[in-house]
C-alpha cells in the first residue's frame, strides 16, 4: 500500500490551500489545510507543497526518446527523467527510432522499458508506413493488439504525402479506434528547405519552407479524414494559415485535433541571424504573426494542446554549419514554463486552461483513460506540482536529457515544475518529501 500527503497545495491555483491524500495511487481525500494540522501518521511521506499549484500530470503526444538507435543523445531512461522533471506523467515516443517502431516487437520493447523505469508512462507511437518510407502501411493492427496497445500512429519526421496511402491509413485506423498524427509537410514544396520562407530566410540565403507546404497537407488530410470518418491529429502546427484551415474543418465536423509546440508559441525566425543551428527545427520557427496566431488558436481551442516535439541531438549534429545540422530542440523540462509565459503571462489561459492544453486534451486525443483526469477524490493521483512564482535560468547541461540542445539556454523563465506524482509515486521532487 502506498500513501502520500501533499500539504498546502492549491489545485488549479484556485481557492485556499488544501491537503491531498493519496492512497494506493488514487486521490483519497482533499481537505482544507487548516492551521491546526490533524496528526499525521509517523510513516506517512509528506510532500510540502505550500505555495504550489497542482495540475493533472502532463501528457506529451510528441516526444523523441531516441531509443533504440541513438542512445548517445537520449534513452528511454534519461528521457523519462526529463519528462518527470517537466511534470509529465505520460509521453508518446515517436516512431522514428532505428530500427523504426513500425512493428509490435519494437513497440513492446519501448513500452516495457518505459514501464521498467517507471518514471512516466511511455507509450510508443507506431509508424504509419513501413520504415517511415511512405509507401506501404505498417502493421497497425498488430501494434494496436500488442502489449504496447498502440493507438497513435505517425510517420513524424516525414509526411505521409501520398494521398492514397494517407486515405488508407485513415480508413484503416477507424477499426482500431486509433488516431493518425500527421507531420504536415508537402515534400515537393520543401526540397532542401532550411528556414521559414519569408523575408528573413531570403536575406540569409536559406532555402524556404513555405507555410503553404503545411497548409495544403492539413487541408487535404482534413478532407480525407472527413471522408473516411477517421480521427486525424496534426502535429506541431506552425502557420497562421493552418489555424484557419483547422477552424474550417472543425466547423464542418471533421474529427481533427492539433498540437502546437512550446517553441512555436515563443520563438520566431528573427533568431536565425547567427546561423546557430540550435534554432533549426522542423517545422521551422516562423514569424511573430504566426506566433500570435498559435497563441490565439490554443486559447480558443482550435489548437487542442501543447506537445513538446522534444528532439535531443548530439553536439556534432548541432555545432556545425546550418545546412548540415539536424532539426529539433529539447522541450520536456521547459514546456510548462514556456506555456505559462506565453499563455498565462498574457492572460490567454488560466491554470484550468493550462491543465486542458497540457494534460486533459492530449489524454483524450490519445485515448488514455487514466491520464488528464480532474483533481478529485477517486481519480488517479497523476499530478504536476508547479511553483508559479519560480524564476529559473535554463542551462542545457543541467537538464536531464543527454543532449543539451535547448534554444532557451541562458534565458530566465517563469514558473517551474517542482514535483510530479505518477499514480501516487513521486517521480520528481522527492527531495521535498519529509517522513
Amino acid at each position: 500500500m502506498t500513501a502520500l500527503l501533499i500539504k498546502g497545495v492549491r489545485p488549479y491555483g484556485e481557492g485556499e490551500p488544501t491537503n491531498i491524500r493519496v492512497t494506493d495511487g488514487v486521490i483519497s481525500a482533499i481537505e482544507p489545510a487548516t492551521g491546526a494540522d490533524e496528526p499525521v501518521p509517523a510513516d506517512l511521506p509528506v510532500f510540502d507543497a505550500a505555495g504550489l499549484v497542482a495540475l493533472p500530470g502532463f501528457v506529451d503526444l510528441h516526444t523523441h526518446l531516441r531509443e533504440p538507435g541513438r542512445e548517445d543523445t537520449e534513452t528511454i531512461e534519461t528521457g523519462s527523467r526529463a519528462a518527470a522533471l517537466g511534470g509529465y506523467t505520460a509521453v508518446f515516443a515517436m516512431a522514428n527510432t532505428d530500427p523504426v517502431t513500425d512493428n509490435a516487437v519494437i513497440a513492446e520493447h519501448v513500452w516495457r522499458r518505459g514501464a521498467e523505469i517507471g518514471l512516466v508512462d511511455v507509450h510508443p507511437v507506431g509508424a504509419v508506413t513501413v520504415g517511415l518510407a511512405g509507401a506501404k502501411l505498417a502493421e497497425l493492427g498488430t501494434m494496436a493488439a500488442s502489449a504496447a496497445d498502440v493507438r497513435v500512429f505517425s510517420d513524424d519526421g516525414h509526411c505521409v504525402h501520398d494521398p492514397l496511402i494517407m486515405r488508407r491509413a485513415l480508413e484503416y485506423s477507424v477499426a482500431l479506434d486509433a488516431v493518425i498524427a500527421q507531420h504536415a509537410e508537402e515534400p515537393r514544396l520543401t526540397v532542401g528547405a532550411q528556414a521559414h520562407e519569408g523575408e528573413r530566410a531570403a536575406r540569409l540565403g536559406l532555402a524556404g519552407w513555405p507555410a503553404s507546404a503545411e497548409e495544403t497537407i492539413v487541408a487535404r488530410d482534413c478532407l480525407l479524414a472527413g471522408h473516411a470518418g477517421a480521427r486525424l491529429h496534426i502535429c506541431h502546427v506552425s502557420c497562421a494559415g493552418t489555424v484557419e484551415v483547422l477552424r474550417w474543418a472543425k466547423q464542418r465536423g471533421v474529427r481533427v485535433s492539433a498540437e502546437v509546440t512550446p517553441h512555436h508559441l515563443l520563438l520566431t525566425d528573427e533568431r536565425l541571424g547567427s546561423y546557430d543551428p540550435v534554432n533549426k527545427v522542423n517545422p521551422p520557427l516562423r514569424t511573430a504573426a504566426d506566433v500570435q496566431a498559435m497563441r490565439a488558436a490554443l486559447a480558443d481551442g482550435v489548437i487542442d494542446c501543447v506537445a513538446t516535439d522534444h528532439a535531443p541531438h548530439a553536439v556534432q549534429d548541432k555545432d556545425c554549419e546550418w545546412a548540415s545540422a539536424k532539426p529539433g530542440m529539447l522541450g520536456l523540462q521547459t514546456a510548462l514554463s514556456i506555456v505559462v509565459e506565453t499563455m498565462r503571462g498574457t492572460g490567454a489561459l488560466d491554470w484550468r486552461g493550462i491543465a486542458r492544453v497540457l494534460s486533459e486534451r492530449p489524454a483524450e486525443i490519445a485515448g488514455l483513460a487514466g491520464q488528464g483526469r480532474p483533481i478529485e477524490v477517486g481519480e488517479p493521483a497523476n499530478l504536476a506540482l508547479v511553483d508559479p512564482d519560480a524564476r529559473w535560468t535554463v542551462r542545457g547541461e543541467e537538464l536531464a536529457s543527454l543532449a543539451g540542445n535547448t534554444p532557451y539556454e541562458g534565458m530566465e523563465l517563469m514558473a517551474r515544475v517542482v514535483g510530479t506524482v505518477l499514480r501516487g509515486q513521486v517521480t520528481a521532487g522527492r527531495e521535498r518529501i519529509a517522513v
Binding site: A202, R203, L204, G205, Y275, C320
Partner: protein
C-alpha cells in the same frame, strides 16, 4: 573590422574606406615591375574552398601574396575535409596551426558566420568568399569599385541586377552594398527566380528587362546555373534568353554611359551576347582586375591594424 562576412550591416563609411584603400593600392601598384608590398609580412592567410572557384581563390591568393602574406591553399579534396571531417574540426586544426586569417567558400549559407564564431576568440579573421546562397561580399565590393571607376559615384545611380537572384549570393551582397552606397537597385527576373520576401529589400522589383534598360546606369547580369535550368524555374534556356538575356539589340537600349557587369563565369549567348560581353560598355575584365585590389584592401583592413582594434 574583425571579419568580413556580409555587406549587410557594413556602413557606408566602412565600405568607402575599403574602396578608397583599393583605389590607392591600384594607383600604388600601377606600372610597377615588382608588385609586392611588405605590409602583411609574417601573417598567414589560409584559403579554404569547399566549392570549386579558381578565379576567386586565385584572386585572393594573389592579393595575399602582393601584400607579402604567407598564403596557404587548403584544398577541400586533398585534405581531411575529403575524409568526412567536420568543418569545425578542420578550422580548429588550422587555427592551431597559426592562421591569422581564413578565407572560406562553403556551400552552406552561414558557414562563414559559424567559422567566425569558432575562430573569433583566437583572433583569427574570417573572410566570406561565398557562403551558399547567402553572400559574397568581396564580389560586391569589387563590383562597386568597378562602378565607381566608371561612373564616378554610386550615389543616385540606378543599377539593374538581372537573373537568378534567388540563388545568388552575388545579388544579395550587391543589394545591400549598392543601397548603402546610395544607389537605387532594381532586381529584374522572372518571379520564380526572385526570393519570397524580396519586396521588403531596399530594392525595386521588375519582371521586364526591356522596360528597365533605358534608365539604368549599370546592368549586372547574374550567372544562371545549369541545375536551375533543369529545376523548372523557367520553361527553357531559350525562353530565358529571349526574355532576360542581354542580346546586342537589347544592350542598345542602354544609355551610352551605362556599364555592363558580369561576375563570371559567363554563359555567352544565353545570359549575355558575346558582342556585348566584349564591348566597350562591358567592364568584365576590369571587375577581375579590381578583384585583386579590393581583396588586398580587405586583407589590409582586417590584418594590418592593431590586434583586436575595431
Amino acid at each position: 573590422m574583425k571579419h568580413l562576412l556580409t555587406t549587410e550591416g557594413l556602413s557606408a563609411a566602412e565600405a568607402t574606406a575599403v574602396l578608397d584603400t583599393a583605389d590607392t593600392l591600384k594607383q600604388t601598384l600601377l606600372g610597377r615591375e615588382v608588385r609586392k608590398l611588405p605590409t602583411l609580412r609574417g601573417r598567414t592567410v589560409l584559403t579554404m574552398f569547399y566549392e570549386n572557384s579558381t578565379r576567386t581563390r586565385v584572386s585572393f591568393e594573389i592579393a595575399g601574396k602582393w601584400m607579402s602574406a604567407d598564403v596557404v591553399n587548403v584544398s577541400a579534396s586533398g585534405s581531411s575535409v575529403g575524409k568526412g571531417e567536420s568543418l569545425r574540426d578542420t578550422v580548429l586544426t588550422l587555427r592551431a596551426a597559426g592562421a591569422d586569417c581564413v578565407i572560406a567558400r562553403h556551400p552552406a549559407s552561414g558557414a562563414a558566420h559559424r567559422l567566425a564564431e569558432w575562430l573569433g576568440s583566437a583572433g583569427t579573421s574570417v573572410v566570406n568568399a561565398g557562403d551558399g546562397t547567402h553572400e559574397h561580399p568581396t564580389q560586391a565590393l569589387l563590383d562597386a569599385a568597378t562602378l565607381r571607376e566608371r561612373l564616378g559615384s554610386l550615389d543616385g545611380r540606378r543599377i539593374g541586377i538581372v537573373g537568378d537572384v534567388l540563388h545568388s549570393r552575388v545579388a544579395r551582397s550587391n543589394v545591400h552594398l549598392l543601397a548603402t552606397l546610395g544607389a537605387e537597385v532594381v532586381l529584374i527576373a522572372p518571379p520564380t527566380l526572385l526570393p519570397y520576401g524580396a519586396t521588403n529589400w531596399p530594392v525595386r522589383v521588375s519582371y521586364t528587362l526591356d522596360a528597365e534598360l533605358p534608365t539604368l546606369d549599370a546592368v549586372m547580369m547574374l550567372r544562371v546555373q545549369a541545375e536551375r535550368m533543369h529545376g523548372g524555374f523557367f520553361p527553357s534556356a531559350r525562353e530565358y534568353s529571349i526574355n532576360y538575356g542581354l542580346s546586342e539589340a537589347r544592350a542598345a537600349l542602354l544609355p551610352e554611359h551605362a556599364v555592363v557587369l558580369h561576375p563570371g563565369p559567363m554563359l555567352r549567348g544565353m545570359e549575355i551576347a558575346s558582342a556585348v560581353a566584349d564591348s566597350a560598355q562591358a567592364a568584365i575584365t576590369e571587375q577581375v582586375r579590381n578583384g585583386v585590389h579590393v581583396r588586398m584592401a580587405v586583407l589590409y583592413h582586417l590584418l594590418a591594424g592593431e590586434e583586436g582594434a575595431a
